[in-house]
Amino acid sequence: MKETPVILVSGYLGAGKTTLINNLLREPNGKRLAILVNEFGELAIDEDLIEAKDDNLISISGGCICCSFGDDLSGALSDLAKFLPAPDYILIESSGVALPNQIVANVGLLNKFFMAGVVCIVDCSNVLQKLRDGYVSDLIASQIENSNLIILNKTDACSAQKLELIKEQISVDLNANLIASTTFSNISFEILEELQGISAACSDTDHADDVFDSVVIYPSNIDDPVNLGNLLLNATGIERAKGYFEDIANNRWLIQISSGALQLKQVQDHFPIGIVVIGLKGHFDISTVASLVQR
């Protein structure tokens, strides 16, 4: 039987997890998402999107559902396993004090699911302070270290200089190297979907970081989309890429590279810009790929 991919959305309290969930529910990119949240609390789903609602489950038009799991995530996942048709993805919004590796281990016990990746949302307005806090510094560091993708959120709330400091601390001290920056948790589902590529491509190992390097680039003002696509396709060591960029005439493009094939198409919606590029460690030339954006 096909296993359902699970994406864990981790991060400390107030980082922007719920905002991300709200954004994804608004634009699920045609996917049927099942979202598990600790409690409905701040979750703001437009009333006109809600088809049915009870204490623990909200059905949303388009086939998405949202469940609260309270203190029993394994139980909620087991219940979800009976749900037909199975959702395309399950997203778990963990509690602010949860350790991602614990949840990953727990999901690993359940048949019918596989862990597609862990996203950690970092609140740039206070992360440096929290990383020095006597009570929670070890918890925040553990959340960052045990994630596949770091989303630096609320970047508008800190200076460019501070943002560099944050990036440095996260990539050097905490050894996390796949980082995207945004405000208002504005990350498209396409980028999260790419996580599945990371995990699937390295299912033999526990640590995606051991095999792959990755980078997120934010190309805009691109005069020749096809040329950018080809440059990426031919970049040394590249395995996969997926995301959006903007050309010089402010058109949005979807780009996908997988199994040596390039797919490029113009899209109407204004998905957030950002391309996740993944390549084999030791072969992948991150600096060349990063320089594509500067051109």
Binding site: G41, G70, V97, Q102
Partner: protein, 548 residues
């Protein structure tokens, strides 16, 4: 109108400093009409003299400030502990001293089960008393290969299952990678499951399901019988999930005419936003009755010391384990404390490690500046590692503490040797320091983790002996008088109920513990051996050996 009844006794310890020892107590309409001499009480008018307790010692009914009614439900499973323990019917189950004995008792119980599919469940094993020998799934397979079997450890944090149990959960396979599931030499799980994450998926197949932290209907009745045997007339249920269904079940059962105790359940802060929780608790508070007191909240800050999940201050764990887990974040605690004080709700907070205790203290201090509250009585539960400075601070802030005296006896040796080392092991559950710092203090059993028996809990705090019969923390001992206060008024105060229970004085509820001997005259080491005849609760007599 009900006629006044006057009980005579060998001695009545009132815990009321105005008249500490009397010979008679008068009861009317479930309340105490007076405590004094027969002559004094007779002046109230017509009465019946009852000499049932002529040869007994009467104390205020004991108040257990931290226990869980789930023990009542657990007794329908097989008791497998190291220590002798008495069940709700009064039968004492001898402690089991080897894995063979455990297998034998399980096998005997297995033969009693009619339906082939029914799981067989046992509880309260503790390998630390058996040189840490582990119980493998193969050992449990000797009992049955076809019936799922699960055995819960005394700590409640570890579950052992047989092969069938693993199979039903889909875990009888190779390649499992989970920190809570050790793998044997054959590549398959050993059957030992650590922590709720590993226990939950298997638990439901072996008789320990999701809601096992709450008692069921029969469990609640059985639990109340344990209260009578222990002299307890008011008992908390300290981390109930309290759904609308369980509240109505508890209201119904405690409302039965012969239900012998007052139960005080605290709704646990888990899986609900602070705002929703406060609204819910305010709502159910209005449903409170004389025997079911609703409207309090329990927060859990960290884990356990022996599970290395408690949050410790520097220098951390003695054996170098990494610091433990937060179950509630500092921000959530702040929000919860604020909302609770704003809405006049009381919170009991589980802290084990001293870092968790520090967070609770600092958070409350900050919130009190915004919401001054002169009699909040926020209580730290367990609070096992608190330092002298922390007790002084708690005293200043008006906080109460409920220390886990029993834990010191059962696991003190482990803490000394392994978890926190000698110095902090000696200050664990520092009753002397708490009282000297003027912190209102209760002491508790955390039943079912250890048996419900306030006189035993008092013995632990007075003698500070560990299982190995070593005195651990000579300077933290308290007197018998102080221990008796802790299990009556001390605990009542932490529940804001000291005006109605905890002492034998005019106007209070007629709740008595009826004892065969005098604890105040006993040698400290004999305190735990004092037999309990039964209780009087709201003026109703309950004899332990004669319960319906």
């Amino acid at each position: 109108m009900q006629k006044t009844k006057i009980y005579s006794a060998k001695k009545i310890y009132t815990m009321n400093p105005c008249r500490p020892i009397v010979s008679h107590v008068a009861v009317k309409e479930g309340k105490i009409l007076g405590a004094g001499s027969l002559e004094e009480l007779a002046s109230w008018g017509e009465f019946d003299l009852d000499d049932t307790f002529n040869e007994k010692v009467i104390m205020p009914g004991f108040v257990e400030g931290h226990a869980h009614t789930m023990e009542g439900t657990l007794w329908r499973k097989v008791y497998l502990g190291w220590f002798d323990r008495t069940d709700p019917s009064g039968k004492t189950w001898p402690g089991l001293k080897s894995i063979n004995e455990i297998i034998e008792r399980l096998s005997a119980a297995e033969k009693e089960l009619s339906n082939e599919d029914l799981p067989l469940s046992g509880w309260s094993i503790d390998p630390i008393y058996m040189d840490n020998q582990r119980i493998s799934r193969q050992a449990l397979d000797q009992v049955s290969r076809t019936r799922p079997i699960g055995v819960l450890h005394a700590s409640g944090h570890i579950l052992n299952v047989n092969s069938k149990g693993l199979e039903l959960a889909g875990l009888l396979k190779k390649g499992i990678n989970h920190p809570g599931i050790p793998i044997g030499n054959d590549g398959y799980p050993t059957g030992e499951l650590y922590g709720p994450d590993a226990m939950t998926p298997v638990g439901k197949h072996v008789g320990f399901d999701r809601s096992m932290t709450d008692c069921d209907e029969q469990g609640l009745r059985d639990y109340a019988r344990l209260c009578v045997r222990a002299g307890v007339t008011t008992c908390t249920d300290l981390a109930a999930r309290l759904t609308e269904e369980s509240v109505s079940m508890m209201l119904r059962v405690t409302g039965e005419a012969n239900f012998p105790a007052c139960i005080v359940p605290l709704k646990v802060f888990f899986g609900m936003s602070p705002k929703d929780l406060v609204e819910f608790v305010k709502e159910i508070q209005t449903l409170s009755t004389e025997r079911l007191r609703l409207g309090r909240i329990k927060a859990v800050l960290d884990g356990s010391i022996q599970g290395f999940s408690a949050r410790l201050n520097w220098p951390g764990y003695f054996n170098g384990s990494p610091n433990g887990l937060w179950y509630t974040s500092p921000e959530q605690l702040l929000e919860l404390y604020s909302l609770a004080l704003e809405n006049n709700l009381q919170i009991h907070t589980h802290t084990n490690g001293d870092q968790a205790t520090q967070l609770a203290i600092e958070t409350l201090e900050a919130v009190l500046k915004v919401h001054p509250s002169f009699d909040h009585r926020f209580t730290l539960q367990h609070c096992q590692l608190a330092s002298t400075a922390q007790f002084r601070k708690m005293s200043k802030l008006g906080m109460c503490v409920n220390l886990f005296a029993n834990h010191h006896y059962y696991w003190g040796d482990e803490h000394y040797r392994l978890t926190v080392g000698p110095e902090r092991a000696e200050r664990m559950n520092a009753c002397r320091t708490a009282l000297d710092a003027n912190v209102n203090m209760a002491i508790h059993s955390d039943a079912p983790i250890t048996p419900l028996a306030p006189l035993f809990t008092a013995w632990c705090a007075v003698n500070r002996l560990t299982v190995s019969e070593r005195v651990q923390g000579e300077h933290e001992k308290i007197s018998i008088e102080e221990a008796m206060f802790a299990i009556t008024l001390g605990a009542a105060y932490t529940l804001h109920m000291d005006h109605e229970i905890g002492s034998i004085e005019i106007g209070k509820r007629a709740d008595f513990a009826i004892l065969e001997d005098d604890p105040f005259e006993a040698k400290p080491v004999d305190l735990k051996n004092i037999a309990v005849w039964g209780t009087v609760q709201s003026g109703r007599i309950f004899e332990a050996d004669n319960l319906s």
